[in-house]
Amino acid sequence: MKISTIVYLILMGILFVLGLLLLQQNVFGRLHVIKDNPDILNQSDNSVPTELTIRHRAWGEQTIEDGNEIQRITSLLKQMKTATNEDCPAGMTTFTGTLRFLNGTSWSFSLGEGMILNGRCIAAQPLSQTTMLKARLLNAYHNPQQLSQQFNQAEEVILFDAGRSRKIDSSLRKALEEKIKRAEPMTDYEEVGRALNSIDKPRVLQITRYANETGKRDNLMNITIYDALFSVQYMDDDNGNTFYLKGSLASVWKGAKRR
């Protein structure tokens, strides 16, 4: 056999191996898009959720637009959808909501101590999932714009300062509302830690949405005021979560003293 033929065969062999390698690298383990949109769209349960509108009895309406969050809430609702039919006790509903899908269908739910989904009672009493869902829905209210709006609409705001309490007047309330509107969410816990240490007995605002409704958790919210930040807690958050906003509500009193 001629040398040139041997070289030719070796090269062909190398080429074949490289071809296989290329095939392995470029085809296997890669993302392939399967065009099955029409099939998927026809199945309500598997359709893409596009918008979630929720309404809290006291704190108003909110549209959740974050796709990931809508997806998480949809997964939770789908898990709960399979629950057996129960008898929901007649009671006050805290949240109502509508989840819309890309194919035009929608689900509706109401959540109080129990939960009704698409007209069917799926939880007669608080469950881990309903508690988790409520916390997720309340998360949607954790922003300064919503908070300032809620503060504005609240029928009663009581200030606790050095152990004494009083209703706050309209000028102080207006000043606080402006500060809340300009606040920024924060997650730097080093800073939170420093702020929590800054005051021994911080001022607290107890906010009541409807003054004639006493003894209702979902009617109450607390704001605790530190030097450079404040914390907010909805009383009907079963987990007792607090969220922190950067903004000096305390400067409202400092300004008042200077004047």
Partner: protein, 330 residues
């Protein structure tokens, strides 16, 4: 002609080698990005406790993190379901009986010995306690004055809560979902012995609502939606500091909130380091600010818990829960 074909083949070979090489480099780049340490946690403590610990740790260690907040019993259920393919590296919070269950089911793995930890922990280090909480009865003092009377003494034991006058005034956490509820069951059966079943039946009759979460009873009581509740005193303190009219009456039952590390995950080193951080001065300082429990180092004298740590409380607890569900269904 033949030379031309050979030349063409050589060119194809070189191009192919270049493409494969390039592909390898892309893969290496992706791998490098994947090297950023990432910690996944299930959190049974309050959400801000999990976020505070993870964010402050990862800020120093330059890692990323994610967490899901679950009630204690839900957490145990999920970790058990995911036994083959665990999705979390570490469990933060939840009462120690839940961590003991994870140990017994072979789902967690021990932490290395650390000289700095002198608090309450599993003798085999499958879980490490980071804070101690104490059960307490919580009373709405305004409602008490209005419905019971100013000079009538508050209930001081679980047995006291069974008086007919408190019917439908009581909110308790459901032991099927909540670690706090599980601790109340232990207080009943360990504290009242053979009369535990009778006491539990009476308490179930008195209870207006069983909540899925341990914190919820105090929010019902503080807001005036209920007059009496039982949960951990730290949760009660957090709302007392917000000037709600509540009073805590401590009971002689304690529990430990702990951290566990799950098996078959690849972030074992990072998880060990995170545990050391939680027990360090910095970690405990953060806990002191966002949680209302008492750090374990400060309560090492709590003998009742120390005595039971390491005992097989899991099978006891399963029996307690079975008895609760039996009585509840009746």
């Amino acid at each position: 002609m033949r030379k031309g074909i050979l030349f063409l083949l050589s060119i194809i070979c070189i191009i192919s080698i270049w493409i494969v090489q390039n592909n390898q480099q892309t893969k290496q780049g992706t791998a490098a990005r994947e090297m950023t340490p990432h910690l996944t946690a299930y959190v049974s403590a309050k959400e801000d406790i999990g976020r505070a610990l993870l964010s402050s740790y990862c800020e120093v260690k330059k890692c990323t993190y994610e967490f899901v907040r679950l009630s204690t019993e839900e957490l145990v259920r999920r970790v058990t379901q995911e036994a083959e393919h665990p999705r979390a590296d570490i469990i933060i919070g939840g009462t120690w009986d839940a961590h003991q269950t994870l140990k017994k089911r072979g789902l967690s793995t021990p932490f290395p010995a650390t000289s700095s930890q002198e608090g309450l922990q599993d003798p085999d280090r499958y879980w490490i306690g980071y804070e101690v909480e104490r059960l307490a009865i919580v009373v709405n003092t305004d409602l008490w004055k209005e419905r019971i009377g100013k000079n009538i003494p508050y209930p001081t034991t679980l047995k006291d809560l069974t008086l007919e006058v408190y019917r439908d005034e009581l909110i308790l956490p459901d032991p099927n979902h909540s670690g706090t509820g599980a601790t109340i069951l232990q207080a009943i059966f360990d504290g009242y012995g053979t009369s535990g079943d009778t006491l539990l039946r009476q308490l179930i009759r008195q209870t207006r609502l069983f909540t899925a979460n341990g914190f919820a009873p105090v929010s019902y009581v503080a807001s005036g939606e209920a007059m009496l509740g039982v949960n951990f005193i730290g949760d009660q303190q957090s709302l007392r500091e917000k000037y709600y009219p509540i009073k805590s009456i401590p009971l002689d039952t304690y529990s430990i909130n702990a951290i566990s590390k799950l098996k078959n995950r690849n972030q074992q080193g990072l998880s060990n380091d995170f545990m050391r951080y939680v027990l360090s001065e910095d970690g405990q300082d953060i806990l002191r600010k966002v949680s209302f429990g008492t750090p374990t180092y400060a309560v090492s004298q709590v003998q009742p818990i120390k005595k039971s740590v390491g005992q097989d409380i899991v099978s006891d607890y399963q029996d307690y829960l079975r008895r609760f569900n039996l009585l509840y269904d009746k």
